[in-house]
Subunit: 192 residues, 2 copies
């Protein structure tokens, strides 16, 4: 598994080695001089499904990867905020959208990129949104108009499928799934 | 908010400044020489509630913080594993416990420590466990015997309360909560 490349110790500036510390069970970057162990862990991406009178807000990406494709507002969770606050912040930044009543809806673990996605659902306040950062275009779309072939990421496809399924059942639940890269490069989604 | 202290660039070994990059909305560590931006983000702690014939497995901590108090097996999620695999691995490491049928049960966002906790529930295979890493003692305890005053962390208290509430209702759900430090230093738990 590829880690983020680290060549120098961020505490003292000397070189690091990629070795297994005593009492550990995997390699870490360890400073040759001050001995600090630099742990690397998965990142959390947080976002939401903005709802307004039965429609869903989608954003068309203005940046790579998947530039030009449609996504839900989402991005890396920042320090000092809650996971839910991060989802609201991303909707604000990417679509000038104010979110109300966010509830955790889906979580995906994606080990080949060392990421967890958390997706909330909530009301898009007054149905108002406009083009924000990293966004070419925003649109409120009905289930029939979701551009399934032009969605940017598997977690967007899966979250929207689960969302419409739950809506038809008249009961929203919180879902957990794993998106795992197979030997042939294909991504396999398993809901658990 | 306190970030992890960084003094030197992990890519080139030169000094970093704590400044706001162009187009960003918060300070980051940026290398004065190679310009790399070093993002810092919350970490994920993952664990589980091991169940066996109505009892719950608890572990007494052998390390600080909260040495000597009781907890659920949990620890930092590692790269290359799913969130659920991390929960199973921690149960194995801390209590030599094999977990079956893990389902996501609760998630807590704890912004003052930049952490997210994910807690699964599942069967403790054959009710077998023993002292592992970071553990002084393991015990299978009934609801009546939970040592509520000697639990190590708020997320353990809250997860067990939610667990027994759901069990009484005969239906387990997936819960999201926020544990926020107040001005007086007290932690406030809000389920959302």
């Amino acid at each position: 598994m590829k880690e983020n490349m680290m060549k120098f110790c961020s505490a003292c500036g000397e070189k690091v080695n990629w070795v297994m510390p005593q009492g550990d069970n995997r390699n870490r970057y360890v400073c040759v001089s001050c001995g600090v162990i630099h742990y690397q862990n998965p990142n959390v991406v947080t976002g939401c499904i903005p709802e307004w009178q039965g429609d869903i807000l989608l954003c068309r990406r203005s940046i790579e990867p998947r530039k030009g494709l449609w996504t839900l507002p989402a991005g890396f969770m920042e320090n000092s905020e809650t996971n839910r606050e991060g989802a609201a912040r991303e909707a604000k930044e990417e679509a000038n959208a104010e979110m109300r009543d966010l509830k955790l809806f889906s979580m995906f673990s994606i080990p080949h990129v060392n990421q967890i996605y958390t997706i909330y659902r909530g009301e898009l306040h007054q149905g108002q949104a406009s083009v924000g950062e990293e966004t070419l275009e925003v649109a409120l779309v009905s289930e029939d108009d979701i551009p399934w072939q032009a969605l940017a990421f598997p977690m967007v496809v899966e979250s929207l499928k689960l969302y419409f399924d739950d809506r038809r059942k008249g009961k929203f639940e919180t879902h957990y799934g794993e998106i795992v890269k197979q030997d042939d490069g294909e991504l396999e989604v398993t809901m658990i």
